[in-house]
Symmetry: C2
Subunit: 106 residues, 2 copies
Amino acid sequence: MRPLPQPAREAMTLAPVLHALGDPVRLELTRRAKDHPESTCAALAEGLEVPLSTLTNHWRILREAGVITMTVDGRHRRIRVRADELGERFPGVLEPILRVAEEEPL
Amino acid sequence: MRPLPQPAREAMTLAPVLHALGDPVRLELTRRAKDHPESTCAALAEGLEVPLSTLTNHWRILREAGVITMTVDGRHRRIRVRADELGERFPGVLEPILRVAEEEPL
């Protein structure tokens, strides 16, 4: 299992994180990933009517902003929200966003 | 003084708000506007090396997402962050974002 490239915690900045979360599909993917750690990309995207290439792009944006870690596990890619690191770097930012997203269905 | 078109509080959704805040210049403009209510666009953009057309676009994105109210006051446009409405619609989201932005200079 190897993680794909991602910014170190110290290199994260807020605007790209907000940009990454500022899309309804990416927000929903992040919400689901937070609730189901180490799920595969495919499982997390279930039921979303989004082309695979768009999904791939969404995951990349989330990973490059520092929101998620993506690990290659054989043929699967597993996702984990970097909640602890985000919390240290941007205290109090992630939780209310995911709470509101939960009540605002896609 | 008349306000330019903006979404009603009930019509706001989270992703466009995060998208609007997910740009370093827009985040900084919002932070300044929050600290200096009813300032003009020009005053709030002071010192930012951003072309006027880009700034106009930034203010429009913030307004259309519901982050700010823009009021035409003669030749000026005055900005107010819709902090109360954002707080009612998206509890706890705005404050930590602006707090982090404050510590993360542009």
